[in-house]
């Protein structure tokens, strides 16, 4: 893997103004994504993963912070910028039922991006739709059907074809397999993996459990309550987990050996996730952390590089 930075995120914040106050969905997050890699993003549901993915996509404007894409600053509020950026970055959604317009045929769903970006003439587009359908493991008969005629896995393939249609280089995969049957999950993972190699894609792969991310990612970021709490290469994170929250996530991953699984020390978290509207002053994880001390409740730990390439936000390390 070469180390060309495709995406540089620094001190990114995304706040929503809701009736109870300001909801800090993403709070002061910084990391880089290298070209050609898969960056895994994990964290429990509601911690701000989708929001972060959508800010990186330019769907939501950032409240604070900076995003550099290929060295140029991304500002979706500038006219035309969002449109040009859409050609480079695409997204695959979690819910294969909600993410396809029920009133459009599969062919027109896939062709839409090409139409929007004025790619090819009508005949070539039809050919491209067939190529794309075959690329994601469907076939040309499917182009004239409606989304409801497909299974969840097939719909997810349609969503992938739609994203690939405009030949992007960066794809945000927002929990693309969470809503699928276990037997289908690996098919989609393999498909994404093959496509990455064939088309030289860069992924931000979002998931809520580490199990899935481990297989596909080169580096992993762990998110908690809008914060990035640990960031390391895949192997490093498994070999030397530093943050107590990552530990808890890892201990929830089953080991495929019954004896080891039985003897494994499981960290079961107690306590509640604080509301993202009223964030605590100290470490965001303090209310559930098994090793929390007085300092944790008072002072917020910064994300520090502990060993080269391994960053963690915890007072204990």
């Amino acid at each position: 893997m070469n180390a060309e930075k495709l995406l540089e995120v620094s001190a990114l914040c995304k706040y929503f103004h809701v009736s109870g106050g300001t909801l800090k969905a993403v709070d002061d997050v910084s990391f880089d994504i290298f070209r050609g890699e898969t960056f895994g993003l994990v964290g429990e549901s509601g911690c701000g993963k989708s929001t972060l993915g959508r800010v990186l996509m330019g769907i939501y404007g950032a409240t604070k912070g900076k995003i550099l894409y290929g060295g140029a600053e991304l500002n979706p509020n500038r006219p035309g910028a969002r449109f040009r950026y859409a050609k480079k970055a695409q997204i695959i959604f979690q819910d294969p039922y909600a993410s396809l317009d029920p009133r459009m045929t599969v062919g027109s769903i896939i062709a839409e991006g090409m139409i929007i970006h004025g790619m090819y003439d009508a005949r070539r587009r039809t050919e491209r739709v067939t190529e794309l359908l075959e690329m994601v493991g469907l076939n040309r008969e499917h182009a004239n059907r409606f989304p409801h005629e497909f299974s969840g896995g097939q719909r997810q393939r349609i969503g992938i074809a739609r994203a690939l249609a405009i030949e992007p280089e960066f794809i945000v995969c927002d929990e693309p397999i969470s809503a699928l049957d276990v037997s289908i999950q690996s098919q989609i993972i393999n498909l994404l993996h093959d496509l990455q190699e064939r088309l030289n894609l860069t992924y931000l792969f979002i998931a809520h459990d580490l199990n899935v991310v481990k297989y596909i990612s080169s580096r992993i970021g762990v998110m908690y309550l809008g914060h990035l709490v640990e960031l390391a290469s895949s192997e490093e994170l498994y070999a030397r987990t530093l943050h107590p929250y990552s530990n808890a996530l890892l201990s929830a991953v089953p080991i495929p050996d019954p004896r080891a699984e039985r003897e494994k020390r499981r960290t079961i978290l107690t306590g509640d996730v604080p509301s993202p509207i009223h964030t605590p002053p100290g470490c965001p994880f303090a209310s559930r952390c098994p090793s929390a001390c007085g300092r944790c409740h008072a002072e917020k730990p910064d994300l520090r590089e502990v060993t080269p390439g391994h960053l963690v936000a915890c007072h204990l390390t």
């Binding site: 769907i59 929007i116 004239n144």
Partner: protein
């Protein structure tokens, strides 16, 4: 055909079961589905959503029958009053309350007979149908226009704007329709226009709520976000995604709102709050008919049948449209 039947029968006859030593290996099973070379032939023709919906509507015999009935009804309502030799208030006092197909000595033919003042009921019935349809359609279109704009704004902006707009709707819902009609009839000359205005004041809230709900849920739907992510302009987003998804709901709503408007008009005219006499409407024709129902039942039955059949047709057409516009019910 009969071969297949015999084969099916044979399968259920116990003495003809397979011998015990019958061995079916994998090679006994061949793929008999359409083969790859024939794929092109079985590809469904490429069609747009609206064409597909139209095709499915046309396949629905009940809906087509309703449409034909409604077209005939509208044509009668438009043409009969124009070509009739009588006017709506022309009285023939020599032959009142005559039965259907009555021909007077002076040569007058009254297809539906006459009423107690000797007015031609054929003319009055179709003119009444025209009035009732006119009121119903204008009321529904006005309500839909106000409701869609109001609801779309509330749903689009959300937040406190939506909150205030919805509270306002709740206030309007709290006012009984009859009170508005009565109040309006005090300040305005009672008639078709005041009836439409009275209905429009309260009637739009239904479509406003419907539209708001749809826009609110569509706005956060992932397929809308996906289209946005593809770089769709707001115009394309609205015309290609939001409107088609909204329109199908609204078309059905429109079709189903017409019969209820027809009924409301009939009810108001029946109790004397609607279209003023001598102008006929289906409601006041039925009201006059009830007075003489014991002796001349056709005077009530004719408008009653037209009201019922019209309402029924609109309702069944609405059902047909709902099925046709929902691709999930596609066959």
């Amino acid at each position: 055909m009969s071969n297949a039947k015999n084969a099916a029968k044979a399968a259920f006859e116990p003495e003809k079961t397979l011998p015990a030593d019958c061995d079916l290996g994998a090679e006994a099973f061949a793929h008999v589905g359409p083969d790859a070379e024939r794929r092109d032939e079985i590809v469904r023709p490429s069609i747009s959503y609206w064409r597909d919906a139209m095709r499915r509507l046309m396949q629905n015999k009940v809906a087509v029958a309703c449409m034909v009935f409604l077209v005939v009804l509208v044509l009668f309502a438009l043409i009969v009053p124009l070509v009739s030799p009588y006017t709506m208030s022309e009285q023939h006092l020599t032959h009142p309350n005559k039965p259907m197909f009555f021909r007077a000595e002076d040569g007058h033919l009254h297809v539906f007979g006459t009423d107690d003042l000797g007015r031609d009921l054929f003319m009055r019935l179709w003119l009444g149908t025209r009035t009732s349809l006119y009121i119903a359609v204008s009321v529904v279109v006005i309500n839909l226009l106000i409701g869609v704009i109001y609801g779309a704004l509330a749903g689009y902006f959300g937040g406190w704007i939506d909150n205030i707009m919805m509270r306002f709707i709740e206030i309007i819902i709290g006012i009984p329709y009859l009170i508005i009609v009565i109040l309006l009839s005090m300040i305005m000359k009672s008639g078709v226009t005041s009836l439409i205005i009275a209905y429009a004041i309260v009637g739009w809230v239904g479509s406003a709520r419907l539209t708001r709900g749809q826009v609110l849920s569509l706005r956060t739907q992932e397929f809308i976000i996906a289209a946005h992510a593809l770089g769709s302009s707001p115009w394309r987003l609205i015309t290609r995604h939001i409107v088609p998804n909204l329109l199908s709901v609204l078309i059905v709503n429109l079709t189903l709102a017409i019969p209820s408007a027809i009924f409301t008009e009939a009810f108001l005219s029946y109790i004397g709050m609607g279209v003023p006499l001598p102008h006929p409407s289906l409601g006041n024709l039925a009201q006059e008919g009830t007075l003489r129902f014991m002796f001349y039942p056709q005077q009530l039955l004719l408008p009653a049948v037209v009201i019922s059949l019209t309402m029924l047709s609109f309702n069944m057409l609405g059902d047909g449209l709902r099925d046709a516009l929902d691709p999930r019910l596609r066959t």
